[in-house]
């Protein structure tokens, strides 16, 4: 006799349902976490050697192994490509990637398969030939092209003299020369070591990126304040009052959310063609354009949030306050706003985070001029364009850090309110 006949009702297990939901939600969470971790891991946090030109010639792997001539006793940096396992020299072999000292006049690449193109990289560590000091500016000559650019930073360390140690900004370069300023009273050094500071230090030292951090922080804060200033009244009116054309206004308020961000910037640019000259001169391609472009998008999100916040506060509170002697204004400030604090904080955080990430409209409406309208996303873009992936990642990390700090502050303040 089976269950049906016996009349016992059974319900299927909840497990497949819960596991299914867990997998769907979990995979999204996993992507979020691994995305951030990938950024953190990809970036090299240690100083890198200053390297000369590539020594591996293009070609294919042959049976006897590709030979690269080296100088005995010199340091080289080897990076295995997808067709190499490592390299071999008299002393032994190096697998993968790393710095090594050559022990003879040649090394042999170990290929994973014959006939495949050579993809490895072998570059000598640059050595100093000589150096000179004039007016506290050191000019170093290297034995190989160093590949460093004007405005980049170099980390100098010396064991036996003062005035050299530290991270220096390069003020002049040629292929095998570079100059930087020294501390007052620096003497000729005995032995020097040069290395490239890690990308995070490079980014934080760079004048352009420092400017963009500053502009980002200031513009996002201004945007947040303006957004809240506008979002509170709009959110309140939309939540409490019924009037003709409300549906139309509701739709209009959502336009910045649904419109492609680039179009927002373009529309602003066109709009300012019709503005008086003094106004468009003061705004377009200047820092106010950055704030306005951020504001247009961020404010729409703040309005949404504030409206939901006010929707969740029943009208009863105001009604009671009105009977107790308030007018609408007093009821709003004394009874409604204290309850809307959490929503206000959420709206502010959201607006701030949106503003921080805003890129398209700023590029179109404010341009990407270094030290003028460059904000962090612009920096990331410019770094990428210049082929400096590491620089871009460093800027991304700065943005992640800023966003995390703001979220933590907002959450802590929010918690305080709840547990008070």
């Amino acid at each position: 006799m089976n269950d049906k006949e016996s009349g016992v009702f059974r319900v299927a297990s909840d497990k497949p349902f819960l596991i299914g939901f867990g997998i769907l939600g979990g995979s999204y969470l996993l992507i979020i976490v691994s995305m951030v971790l990938a950024d953190l891991f990809f970036l090299n946090y240690v100083d890198q050697p200053v390297l000369g030109n590539e020594m591996v010639r293009q070609g294919r792997h042959i049976e006897s192994g590709v030979i690269v001539p080296t100088e005995k006793g010199r340091s080289y940096f080897f990076r295995a490509g997808k067709n190499e396992i490592g390299l071999r020299q008299v002393d032994g072999s190096l697998l993968g990637t790393g710095l090594f000292t050559a022990d003879s006049s040649e090394v042999v690449l170990i290929s994973s398969e014959e006939g495949k193109p050579v993809t490895a990289s072998l570059r000598p560590e640059v050595r100093l030939k000589n150096f000179a000091i004039t007016n506290n500016v050191a000019t170093l000559t290297t034995d190989e092209p160093h590949g460093l650019l004007w405005g980049e930073f170099i980390s100098v360390s010396s064991s036996d003299v003062v005035g050299w140690d530290g991270i220096r900004e390069i003020t002049e370069t040629t292929t095998d020369q570079l100059s930087f300023k020294l501390d007052e009273g620096a003497s000729l050094a005995g032995s020097l070591r040069l290395s490239k500071p890690n990308p995070l230090v490079q980014a934080l030292r760079s004048r352009d990126i420092r400017f963009s951090i500053k502009l980002s922080l200031i513009s996002c804060t201004l945007t947040t304040l303006f957004s809240l200033w506008v979002a509170v009244p709009i959110g309140y009116v939309m939540s409490r009052f019924q009037f003709r054309g409300k549906a139309v206004i509701d739709t209009l308020l959502d336009i910045p959310i649904v419109l492609p961000p680039l179009v927002v910037g373009l529309s602003l640019l066109i709009l300012f063609r019709y503005m008086p000259d003094w106004l468009s001169d003061a705004v377009v391609y200047k820092w106010p354009a950055v704030v306005l472009a951020q504001f247009m998008v961020a404010c729409a999100f703040a309005v949404r949030t504030m409206r939901v916040t006010f929707d969740q506060i029943p009208q009863r509170f105001e009604q009671v306050a009105l009977t107790l002697g308030c007018n609408r204004n007093k009821a709003f400030w004394r009874v409604i706003m204290p309850q809307a604090k959490g929503g206000l904080l959420a709206a502010g955080t959201l607006a701030w985070a949106r503003a921080l990430g805003e890129f398209g409209p700023i590029l179109v409406f404010a341009g990407a001029t270094r030290q003028k309208t460059e904000v962090l996303p612009t920096s990331a873009f410019l770094e990428l364009q210049a082929g400096r992936t590491e620089g871009m990642l460093a800027v991304s990390l700065i943005m992640i850090a800023a966003a995390v700090v703001v979220f933590i502050v907002a959450r802590t303040l929010g918690m305080k309110r709840i547990f008070a």
Partner: protein
């Protein structure tokens, strides 16, 4: 006193018309009616929270038809009590007094008085979410009485309380009515509750108010 003369309220398909009601000063009035018959609407109209299309509302000796809620001198206790969640009991009781710019000592004296009347002494520093149903009801009552209104409007004040508290609350309401001389309009959908309360009984049926004698 409360006098409603020929009140009409239209709201979409719903309509109350020709409402007449009279309570003399210090009287305890109970307005009964089924759920959804417009009791709360009428109460809101008296408090000035809802526009009326026609008629006159007289509270005390004033025609308040066109006055804002703040100037009508009513105390309003809504069904859900609507205690302000961010304010401790003391601030709720003082709310109306602060708005009237009374002195600090005057305010604390009045708060003590209300706490005595309603037995709130222990609760003055609590937030509303730490109050039980009966306590919250007493606080809401105290808040509505603070500015010594001539009229107290109670919207189903007993409906959210358990049976045991009913009697206690009824006695308290009658006590408040007797002590302060405030005119009370108490609305309820429960005939048994109405029976328990003394005073003047009205019935709201099909948009009309009937006086039960």
């Amino acid at each position: 006193m409360i006098r409603l003369a020929d009140i009409t309220i239209k709201q979409g398909d719903f309509e109350l018309s020709g409402i007449e009601l009279e309570l003399s000063s210090g009287e305890y009035g109970v307005l009964m009616g089924r759920s959804g018959c417009g009791k709360t609407t009428l109460l809101e109209a008296i408090c000035g929270l809802r526009k009326i299309d026609q008629g006159k509302i007289i509270l005390g000796d004033r025609d308040v038809t066109n006055l804002p809620p703040a100037e009508r001198g009513v105390g309003y206790v809504p069904q859900d009590r609507a205690l302000f969640p961010t304010q401790p009991v003391r601030e709720q009781l003082a709310f109306a007094l602060v708005l009237r710019s009374l002195g600090q000592s005057e305010i604390s004296r009045r708060v003590e008085e209300l706490a005595d009347l309603l037995g709130l002494g222990e609760l003055l520093d609590r937030l509303p979410d730490k109050l039980s149903g009966g306590e919250a009801q007493r606080v809401a009552l105290g808040r509505a009485l603070a500015h010594k209104p001539s009229v107290l409007c109670l919207d189903e004040p007993l409906s959210a309380l358990d049976e045991e508290l009913h009697d206690e609350m009824c006695q308290l309401l009658e006590h408040v009515n007797g002590q302060t001389g405030v005119t009370v309009l108490h609305i309820t959908h429960s005939p048994s509750e109405a029976k328990r309360l003394a005073g003047c009984h009205y019935h709201l049926v099909d948009g009309k108010v009937h006086h039960d004698v």
